[in-house]
């Protein structure tokens, strides 16, 4: 269900409802196998596009405790929204470009304001396995090479708008080739549930451990996503790291 937005996105108080698309779920062959190589993914809804500068500005204006300079340092470092001209002006960045330099805490608070939460890793990975015509395109070398290309391009100072690449089969945009994205359980991903390996937190960070524990070894793009999440703390902000939100199925 598409919501027509008959107002300028940056006008404060505009009743804008973000577009969430239903995803039926299923069995995912995951790159982060915890307990077997596949995980069941229950039906959920995913925001079709990442949260934009205009949307995030509306949020911080309505919730001043999340403005740059006001957010507690435990929840956001000095890099938080540092690319914005001021706490209430995202210039020189475009209103429809994805917001970045947002901490996990701030992203979580934003999603809560939409009655949603950050997607779990498996929810993100499930949706990101799809291309425009297939629910799981990951075995296609051409598709893999195409999305891998983004990681080798220099980071840009001003990100392009969301929604410029074609949507995937679910109607979700920009899971690749635009930004990194937070997931809700990023700091629980690297604790193995195998009791024989207790205390082996973040085993993923050394190459030997990574080669043993990772699934989908030839999907370098998704391995880099995991590496980035492993490098983060909840208060961190990165210039190419944004987010989208997820909701339970209706």
């Amino acid at each position: 269900m598409k919501t027509a937005v008959a107002c300028f996105a940056f006008v404060l108080g505009c009743l804008h409802a973000a577009d969430y698309v239903p995803i039926a779920g299923g069995t995912l062959r995951t790159a982060l196998p915890m307990d077997g190589e596949t995980v069941p993914v229950a039906a959920y809804q995913l925001r079709s596009k990442p949260v934009t500068n205009a949307e995030f500005l509306r949020f911080v204006l309505a919730n001043p405790e999340w403005q740059r300079g006001k957010a507690a340092t435990l929840y956001a470092t000095s890099a938080y929204l540092s690319q914005w001209h001021s706490a209430s002006d995202f210039a020189p960045h475009a209103p429809n470009a994805p917001v970045t330099n947002v901490s996990w805490f701030a992203a979580s608070a934003y999603c809560a304001s939409e009655g949603a939460s950050l997607p779990s890793w498996t929810q993100w990975e499930f949706a990101a396995a799809a291309d425009a015509s297939r629910k799981d395109a990951r075995n296609d070398p051409a598709w893999r090479a195409q999305i891998l290309g983004w990681y080798e391009k220099p980071s840009v100072e001003r990100l392009p708008d969301v929604g410029l690449h074609p949507a995937n089969i679910y109607g979700v945009y920009d899971l690749h080739q635009l930004i990194w994205e937070w997931v809700d359980d990023f700091n629980g991903l690297f604790v193995t549930v195998d009791s024989r390996a207790q205390g082996e937190q973040k085993v993923f960070e050394t190459c030997g451990a990574a080669s043993l524990s990772l699934g989908d070894k030839e999907n370098y793009a998704v391995l880099m996503r995991i590496a980035l999440l492993a490098a983060l703390n909840g208060q961190d902000s990165v210039g190419s790291l944004g987010f989208r939100c997820a909701k339970p199925a209706q």
Binding site: A112, R144, A210, S211, A231, L241
Partner: protein, 348 residues
């Protein structure tokens, strides 16, 4: 409204970071006690092919090493560019030189302009991961990691972030020399050279900006096999130099990720080869193998002027994939050792 809803999640995250902080504070104060009396110095790192000056100290120190991770586009061969991932902006990364027994405090900073996370695993470290778990950092972040250089030798360091083979194939390796306590014999010239294999969809010299080719990397089908990250890094105006009679020492390593080197200098015999960068040497060696993630120290004396040629003696690599370098030797001719003219032609 929204604040309350996510309270439980951030409590969990906060708790774990507090516990981590308490744990590392205790560990750090133990280090501080042990290292408190050591003099502190900052290591002078060098870009290849240069080597940091020998260590004059006879006692241990705490050595600060400041290293960056940088993603840079530059020529891999004239006319063809590549996005290199580097330590310190060069391939191989900046060379580090410390002394056995030193306590090394390594500061790694991933530049904000980077696209991907990086870390460092130094083979000179005794401990799981070699520093990789402590140093995994997102773009714009930094990390500090301390280790004691217990073992002398020439050691490779490299990025160990997944996918590791890609980070190494993009140039994320370098070397750290840990001088033995007794020091090293002085020589006239020291150079730093590393071989690495690179994977692109286009053939050698195809032009444009070539991306990394994952499948060719997995297949170990290199498009380029290079000394110091470019086909011309040791040729033309970039040639190494030495004089006739100089004692020359090369710190040579293999970054890989996949291809071992068969290192040879055309026109010279190695007087000494410290195989695997260790303490014992073999004498009178023509060619020496260096595995990926391994090193060697070779010493020789150029006897006559002219160009010596560094190659991987699996020669298709030298002549078709770029593994070639020049050492230009100046000085007096010694026809009793090497006569330049073909004798038969000159005398009839």
């Amino acid at each position: 409204m929204s604040k309350l809803q996510f309270q439980p999640r951030f409590n969990r995250a906060l708790l774990s970071s507090l516990l981590l902080a308490i744990g590392s504070l205790a560990a750090m104060s133990a280090w501080a006690d042990a290292a408190a009396d050591l003099p502190v110095e900052t290591a002078e790192l060098t870009a290849p092919p240069m080597v940091p000056a020998p260590i004059a100290r006879k006692t241990p120190a705490k050595v600060i090493v400041n290293l960056t991770t940088e993603e840079v586009i530059r020529e891999i061969t004239p006319g063809t560019k590549y996005m290199f991932w580097t330590f310190g902006g060069t391939v191989p990364g900046k060379m580090i030189r410390v002394r056995q027994g030193d306590t090394v405090e390594l500061h790694l900073k991933n530049l904000p302009t980077s696209k991907v996370p990086h870390n460092i695993d130094l083979h000179a470290v005794s401990g799981p991961g070699g520093g990789a778990p402590q140093t995994l950092i997102a773009p714009g972040k930094d990390a500090t990691f301390t280790f004691k250089a217990l073992n002398p030798g020439l050691y490779v360091y490299h990025c160990a972030t997944a996918p590791v083979a890609m980070h190494i194939a993009n140039g994320m390796y370098g070397m750290i020399l840990v001088e033995p306590e007794a020091g090293m014999a002085p020589v006239d010239k020291e150079y730093y050279v590393m071989q690495g294999d690179f994977y692109t969809p286009g053939a050698f010299g195809a032009g444009g900006l070539q991306p990394f080719d994952m499948q060719r990397s997995i297949d170990e089908n290199a498009s380029y096999i290079l000394f110091n990250g470019a086909s011309n890094s040791l040729t033309g105006k970039n040639a190494l130099t030495a004089n006739v009679g100089d004692k020359v020492r090369l710190y040579f390593g293999s970054g890989g990720p996949n291809v071992a080197s068969n290192f040879h200098v055309i026109g010279a015999i190695f007087d000494k080869v410290y195989h695997e960068g260790g303490l014992k040497y073999q004498e009178q060696v023509q060619t020496t193998t260096v595995p990926p993630g391994g090193s060697t120290i070779v010493e020789f004396v150029p006897k006559v002027p002219g160009n010596l040629t560094l190659v991987d003696h699996a020669l298709s690599r030298a002549f078709h994939k770029g593994a070639i370098g020049i050492m230009s030797v100046s000085g007096e001719e010694h026809p009793e050792i090497y006569s330049k003219a073909a004798t038969a032609k000159a005398e009839h």
